[in-house]
């Protein structure tokens, strides 16, 4: 199963980067001893850690034994570790993703040689929201020497060889960094990009919302106007009450018999607010990650 091995590769890379110790395990399984800070992120047991810290205990590091296929018999799992089957979306995997997301929010990185100039790399999530939602994950790079902006850079950067340490023999272009200015520039670019997109969805959503709102108005007006009619009809002249009228009154009492502060107008306002809340088209732009990359050439 290719997806399973994707998961395997992902976990392997994750544990390598967070500094876990790899213990021998059969093929298709991962056995790792994880540092305490990672442990805290992967298993939800705050009270245990509270106790450990309060008592000054020093328990041995947790060992995880992860298997990636249901057919795999865990034969060589160490005594301290309970074998766990990893499937897409399982609890452990979700914790690993969450841990990677917090730990990967910020980064700085270098190419190994050449004359390096700094770039700010952004990952931005763009969400089109009405009562449904569509997300895009975009990446941008801003050249800090001349403020030129490049789009869709992750595709290219993943192919480059980047390292975490500042290379000894590289020449680095020093540039003062004004974060506010960079963010402003980024948001401007994103906005331009967003405006160029196809916005039929927003038109549709808006139309649907207006349609719903007018239906709502129509409904409440019909109730309110029939209420007035009922009051008018209550003049002593009209004694023979039509059957319909009784029905109208029934409909009224539905609302009037409720708590005194809750009127039909209040209900109308609430329903209206709910509709807008649910259906109004919105675009949300959220820069999620930022890295400082020192690159020998432009990313694209």
């Amino acid at each position: 199963m290719p997806f399973q091995s994707d998961l395997y590769m992902y976990c392997k890379r994750y544990f390598e980067t967070v500094g876990a110790t790899f213990l021998p395990a059969q093929e298709g399984a991962l056995c790792v001893e994880i540092p305490r800070d990672v442990d805290k992120e992967l298993t939800d047991r705050p009270f245990y850690w509270m106790w450990v810290e309060a008592m000054n205990e020093n328990p041995p590091c947790t060992i995880l034994y992860l298997t990636f296929s249901p057919e795999l018999e865990p034969i060589d799992a160490p005594e301290r570790a309970k074998p766990e089957l990893i499937t897409p979306g399982c609890y452990r995997m979700m914790r690993i993703y969450a841990s990677a997301k917090t730990r990967g929010t910020f980064a700085s990185t270098y190419e190994s040689e050449g004359k390096l100039s700094p770039y700010a790399i952004f990952i931005v999530k763009i969400s089109l929201i009405s009562d449904r939602r569509q997300d895009f994950l975009e990446s941008y790079a801003i050249d800090l020497t001349n403020l030129q902006v490049y789009g869709n850079v992750m595709e290219h950067l993943t192919k480059r060889k980047l390292q975490d340490e500042r290379p000894l023999h590289a020449q680095i272009f020093p540039v003062p960094i004004d974060m506010d200015q960079i963010f402003t520039l980024l948001l401007q670019c994103v906005r331009l990009d967003v405006e160029e997109r196809d916005h039929t969805w927003a038109k549709d959503a808006k139309k649907r919302l207006e349609n719903e709102l007018s239906k709502l108005d129509h409904y409440y007006l019909s109730i309110l106007s029939s209420k007035e009619k009922v009051h008018a009809q209550q003049s002593p002249k009209e004694l023979d009450r039509p059957f319909e009228k009784t029905l109208i009154e029934n409909a009224q009492t539905n609302f009037e018999s409720t708590t005194n502060s809750w009127s039909i107008e209040a209900e109308r306002e609430l329903r209206k607010a709910e509709l807008i809340w649910r259906m109004e088209p919105k675009i949300e732009v959220r820069p999620q990650q930022i890295a400082l990359a020192y690159l020998a050439s432009a990313p694209v």
């Binding site: 399982c90 730990r103 700085s108 994950l137 808006k206 409720t258 708590t259």
Partner: protein, 552 residues
């Protein structure tokens, strides 16, 4: 055209850290990939399925969940028939909204007995971090909360709930909202919510107005105002005027999967009548009671007084003489009785006490021994239930009781005992809701309820998704009693057990059905007349089935 929002939390985080990003590039990439993993990359995708390793929903459940999200825009009445997994559908919808980031705060309102079950299922099956409401502080402490609707509607809880915004509200057993004058309905109406799911197998029980009230919570005006609804859609209390039009209007807010629509394979139902002839003493008791009831029934009707206790007595005497003792005792205490009546009642009481053996119970014991597998025995009466347990134990058969009044924990415990220790589960009707007993495939109806919906709920405990064997249903029918007619009517005339009602629950007001039955029995002079009137009744049910709301 749209609102444009820029979220600047990254800028804030960075400022707190001192303005210079630092960290590992490899993690940066891992984070980017993680984010991509569960991105809602199109409006129509259903992304939660990839994140639910422990759950394989049925196609109709996925279909329903998608339809609610994509076409009904998150406000819907989920009205599948019993046993098709409405809970799973609601869970899928909630999970999808959570993963898409459209829902953060959720409130799930259920009957008190189901709070823990819902909480557990959301956590285990859907990996949704739901909590059961415990006290006043729960409302603000947890984002996803399961609570009893009866607790919620009372202060201080009510005002706590009304002061918050909920991204989604789910109401299980939503037929409890059928009346717009109740506090239940008003609570849901006043809640501030974005999405709303109402879950029930029986959107209409007695009156079309119930459907109107449910739908008005979801989308006011969908069926016009009440006047228009009455004028356009209602012929009489239970009969729609223009089913086609109503169906299409309702279809925009309601999803109703029916068993017979296929897609889901149910095992066979095998129904058998177990005929029983009463002993001389029992027959004498039965006849005396029936005669007494017939006299009293006419008198009470003339005086326009309630005949309820008479109906109860008539039904109890069919179940077991033991069950009738309690009612007889209460009736004797009624001060409005004439001396003559009181004497008659005392005689009956003595007759009931002195019955030497119980044909029906002996028959159960034989049958249970013959089946030699797990059996559920249903009865309507707690007295019969206790009595059966005692008699079974006397003949060395292990049984456990199951009642509606049990707390959740006890219910689970009893279910567990039944699964692992005992051969027989003796349940009263109310024991039904929310309990699944698919490991058992033998049902004995010791007595039959006069309400078709309740019969379906009984069978629904075992004949549901997950049952792998055919289900055997044994209906006890005592010759020469009303029971014989009832079994005949429900089994042969309406063919209830085979066709799987679901239809009936919508068509027939159960109350009306019960009243019709009682009237038939009491007002008919002869056997032939009873048969004729029952034929008419079943004919009415069958024809109405085709033209009514059931088809919605």
């Amino acid at each position: 055209m749209y609102q444009y929002i820029e979220q600047m939390d990254l800028r804030k985080q960075l400022a707190e850290r001192g303005d210079m990003p630092a960290g590992k590039w490899a993690l940066f990439q891992l984070a980017y990939e993680a984010e991509k993993q569960f991105l809602s990359s199109s409006f129509d995708d259903f992304i939660c399925l990839g994140a639910l390793p422990g759950l394989v929903p049925f196609p109709h459940q996925i279909e329903t969940a998608k339809r609610v999200v994509n076409e009904l825009h998150g406000r819907a009445l989920l009205a599948d028939e019993v046993g098709l997994g409405k809970t799973i559908e609601a869970g899928l919808i909630l999970k999808e909204y959570l993963m898409r980031g459209l829902v953060k705060k959720a409130l799930i309102l259920v009957p008190a007995s189901l709070v823990l079950q819902w909480t557990r299922e959301l956590n285990e099956k859907f990996a949704i971090h739901a909590f059961a409401q415990r006290n006043e502080w729960s409302w603000t402490t947890y984002d996803i909360l399961v609570a009893s609707i009866d607790t919620t509607k009372r202060d201080p809880h009510r005002s706590a709930v009304l002061s918050q915004n909920y991204d989604i509200v789910i109401v299980d057993e939503a037929h409890k909202l059928k009346n717009s004058k109740t506090r239940n309905w008003q609570l849901i109406n006043q809640l501030r919510k974005k999405y709303l799911l109402l879950v029930t197998a029986t959107p209409v029980q007695n009156d079309m107005r119930e459907l109107f009230n449910l739908i008005n919570l979801l989308r006011p005006g969908q069926l016009g105002n009440q006047t228009a609804f009455q004028a356009n859609h209602v012929d009489s209390k239970r009969i729609p005027k223009n089913p086609q039009a109503l169906r299409s209007a309702v279809g925009e807010v309601m999803v109703r999967n029916r068993r017979e629509m296929g897609g889901v394979e149910f095992t066979e139902r095998l129904v058998e009548v177990v005929p029983i002839s009463l002993s001389k003493e029992e027959q004498l008791l039965y006849d005396t009671v029936t005669e007494f009831i017939r006299d009293a029934y006419v008198k009470l009707r003339e005086k326009k007084r309630s005949v309820l206790s008479l109906i109860t007595l008539q039904r109890e005497i069919c179940s077991s003489s033991y069950a009738a003792l309690g009612t007889l005792e209460t009736m004797q205490k009624d001060k409005r009785l004439t001396d003559q009546e009181r004497i008659a009642l005392t005689d009956i009481y003595h007759l009931a006490e002195s019955v030497p053996n119980y044909t029906k119970v002996n028959r159960v014991i034989d049958l249970v021994k013959k089946i030699d597998d797990k059996v559920i025995i249903f009865t309507e009466y707690r007295a019969t239930q206790d009595f059966l347990l005692y008699m079974l134990q006397q003949s060395g058969i292990k049984g456990v009781l199951f009642r509606g009044g049990y707390k959740r924990g006890k219910k689970d415990w009893m279910k567990d005992l039944f699964e692992h220790r005992a051969q027989v589960l003796i349940a009263t009707e109310a024991g039904g809701e929310g309990i699944n007993l698919q490991f058992c495939n033998q049902v004995i109806n010791f007595d039959l309820p006069w309400n078709p919906m309740r019969i379906e709920q009984r069978i629904g405990r075992v004949h549901r998704l997950g049952q792998t064997r055919p289900v055997y249903i044994h209906n006890f029918s005592t010759k020469g009693t009303i029971e014989e007619y009832i079994v005949h009517l429900l089994q042969d005339k309406i063919r209830m057990f085979e066709m799987v009602i679901g239809k009936l629950d919508v068509i027939l007001g159960p109350k009306a059905f019960e009243e019709d039955l009682m009237r038939t029995f009491m007002e008919s002079g002869s056997d032939a007349e009873i048969r004729a009137r029952l034929s008419a009744l079943s004919h009415r049910v069958q024809t109405s089935g085709t033209e009514q709301l059931a088809s919605v």
